[in-house]
């Protein structure tokens, strides 16, 4: 049993990391509502998004990376497999997002 626990320690480590990140996110969200956060973080924009949004996105990507790399074992697979899986997602999804959001901003301009 103790041996098993030892070999599972990384799972629990990742669990605590994910939990910690989520807690930070939720805390930031609650602080935002209650107005505890610095004004600049909530109201100032950077490349079309608020600074706080950027923080949320970065935290989310870290969480996603932990899930994919450790829970889904992708970090332990061959390098070629890892990139085969990740590259399409890394290229296509941001590209689609970029196109559609540029289009959205144009809509907004035209309708204004």
């Amino acid at each position: 049993m103790s041996e098993n626990n030892k070999s599972n320690w990384w799972i629990w480590k990742v669990f605590w990391i994910l939990l910690g990140l989520t807690t930070v996110e939720v805390a930031l969200g609650i602080f935002k509502v209650n107005g505890f956060l610095p004004h600049a973080l909530v109201h100032d924009h950077f490349i079309g998004l608020k600074w706080l949004t950027h923080i949320f996105i970065i935290l989310t990507l870290i969480k996603a990376a932990y899930i994919v790399m450790t829970f889904m074992h992708l970090g332990f697979e061959k390098k070629s497999l890892r990139w085969t899986i990740l590259l399409p997602a890394f290229i296509l999804i941001p590209y689609l997002l970029f196109i559609v959001l540029s289009e959205a901003s144009h809509h907004f301009l035209m309708n204004g």
């Binding site: 290229i91 296509l92 196109i99 540029s102």
Partner: protein, 583 residues
């Protein structure tokens, strides 16, 4: 383990078969059937365009409520239904499923040296999803309000609201159901193709020795797997808009004189999601044809394909670029002009790998010893249409030039030549070339020649003049020509004449095909003297492909007329001689 002759019943052998060869034939037969349906539809609307408002014996093939009860002429919205169904059937059913479904299934295990697909069961499921989709689509033609009529691109709001056009009622719902089944089927198929090519290659069959057909089918499968899911999302959102009153794509609509509740959606979003699939789809259609053409040209010129590596790289480049150019279908939708520039730039880049492919084909022909089988003729015709149609793409892909030819007959001419004809020629070349392997018999050669020359002449007669219609400013999907363009009537008559002649000539092929299945002269094991592995299998087609051990691969697939060899071909499973270099 060499014995793969299970007791097979009729049902497990011919209907719910898990043998990739049988599934391929099922795809092929369904594809040919749908091709005939699509072709008859085009014959009908060509007749309408030549004699607008008059009746024709052809219309009797359709339900009687498609015709005006007094004059017997085709009704206007049913003309649009014909156009829509023709597009849907040809793009998805014939050129996606019929072409890559057939040849991916048939060739992948045979050419890489595998006993079957990675999962025969999933492969079987993929066909039966496709079959169900076919049934639903055909059924939708016969519902009283008619099938989907909003064009094969089903842009909302026209496709969302039955009061805008009759076909957007039940017919459109069935279309969406059908396409969903179709997507599930092709995803299952695509996943299978990819893992089979990755994991099941026989010993020695490295990626660098893969025949170009397999490379093309591999890239095709990847394109399908990455782009079809977005069409699924796109379609699901449309289903919700149509049936549950959401506003993903709809806004500011007036229905029956009253303001509707929709607000906030945008048809432009639909167009982006749709063309995210739609453009890769063009290459899903074209790439297998390019791959098979490479194979057929190499075999019949008795020469290695010129620039194997460049051919593979250009396939990959086309595959990648196809994902980032979709906006060129949308230059005139009022999209952000900045994005127009982005898409014009990426679109024209595609011309580079395409040019490489054309020049490599031409160099392959140079100093060859060409054997004109019907397959070879179709392959040459494919190169010809790829040139003719591809070049006009330089006009359509360049945003400012698109302003005046967008949605005109110029586009119709362009895409019918570059993706319609090229892909059909590739498919026919494939059928003529691999028929002996599929059925153990030869197709009749002289009928093949007859079919080829008829098709080649008529097809150019149909689609080349369309460019002039477009340059004269005639929009596509018009029920009749605008009368103040009376001068173009002659061109339209010529097109219709060639279209009908071409349609009749296709029956030579159908006849030849079915006749040869049962009565054709028996084929030898390797009738074309080709190198690839499928020609090392016995003429009797067994489940498991090779009796005994799988062949081992020692060389690439293109050792034709290699200096120092006795024969002008060396199959892939022949070991290298001492001191022989690999290429």
């Amino acid at each position: 383990m060499s014995d793969h002759h299970h007791k097979e019943t009729f049902i497990t052998k011919y209907i719910f078969s898990q043998d990739h060869k049988m599934i391929a034939k099922q795809f092929l037969l369904t594809g040919i059937f749908m091709a005939l349906v699509g072709m008859l539809m085009s014959a009908m609307f060509r007749v309408q365009l030549a004699n607008p408002g008059e009746t024709s014996i052809l219309y009797n093939l359709m339900p009687s409520n498609w015709m005006d009860p007094d004059t017997g002429a085709l009704l206007q919205d049913k003309y649009l239904a014909l156009v829509t169904m023709h597009g849907t059937i040809l793009v998805f059913w014939v050129l996606t499923a019929g072409l890559s479904g057939t040849f991916a299934n048939f060739l992948i295990p045979l050419q890489i040296g595998a006993r079957d697909m990675a999962s025969g069961f999933i492969n079987m499921l993929s066909y039966w999803f496709f079959f169900a989709a076919t049934v639903v689509l055909i059924y939708s033609i016969y519902v009283p309000s008619g099938p989907a009529s909003a064009g094969w691109t089903i842009y909302p709001p026209l496709s969302a609201e039955a009061s805008y056009i009759e076909g957007s009622g039940l017919g459109m719902t069935l279309w969406l159901v059908s396409i969903t089944l179709f997507i599930v089927g092709s995803l299952l198929g695509g996943l299978n193709y990819i893992v089979t090519i990755l994991n099941l290659r026989t010993k020695g069959m490295s990626m660098k020795r893969l025949p170009l057909t397999i490379w093309a089918l591999f890239v095709t499968a990847i394109l399908g797997v990455l782009s079809f899911p977005v069409l699924l999302s796109c379609g699901l959102l449309l289903v919700f808009d149509r049936s549950f009153g959401t506003s993903f794509y709809l806004s500011d609509l007036i229905i029956g004189g009253e303001a509707a509740h929709h607000i906030g959606g945008s048809p432009i979003l639909f167009e982006h999601l749709f063309w995210f699939l739609g453009h890769p789809e063009v290459y899903i259609i074209l790439l297998p044809a390019l791959g098979m053409t490479s194979e057929v040209i190499s075999v019949n010129t008795r020469k290695p394909i010129f620039g194997y590596q460049a051919m593979v790289l250009s396939l990959l480049a086309i595959g990648f670029l196809s994902f980032i150019v979709w906006g060129h279908h949308m230059f005139m939708t009022g999209m952000n002009p900045f994005l127009g520039s982005v898409f014009a730039f990426t679109t024209l880049l595609i011309a580079i790998p395409s040019a490489i492919k054309v020049f490599n084909y031409l160099t392959t022909l140079w100093r060859g010893n060409i054997r004109f089988t019907p397959a070879m003729l179709f392959a040459i015709a494919m190169v010809s249409t790829f040139i003719t149609g591809g070049l006009t793409g330089l006009i359509l892909g360049n945003a400012p030039l698109d302003i005046n030819v967008h949605d005109t007959y110029f586009v119709v001419g362009h895409f019918h030549i570059v993706m319609g004809l090229s892909a059909i020629y590739g498919m026919l070349a494939g059928v003529y070339h691999w028929f002996p392997k599929m059925y153990g018999r030869m197709m009749n050669k002289n009928l093949g020649y007859l079919h080829f020359w008829g098709t080649f002449i008529c097809a150019y007669g149909v689609f080349f003049p369309m460019h002039f219609l477009g340059l004269a400013g005639l929009p596509r999907r018009y029920y009749a020509n605008p009368v103040d363009m009376g001068q173009i009537t002659d061109i339209n008559d010529i097109i219709t004449f060639f279209a009908l002649a071409g349609a009749v000539i296709q029956f030579i092929f159908v006849f030849n095909f079915f006749y040869s299945i049962f009565r054709g002269s028996p084929a030898s094991k390797n009738p074309w003297k080709a190198n690839t592995l499928e020609w090392t299998t016995p003429v009797e087609r067994i489940h498991g492909n090779w009796p005994g051990d799988l062949p081992e691969v020692h060389r690439w697939a293109y050792d034709y007329s290699k200096p120092g060899a006795e024969e002008d071909y060396i199959p892939q499973n022949v070991p290298l001689k001492e001191g022989e270099s690999e290429h």
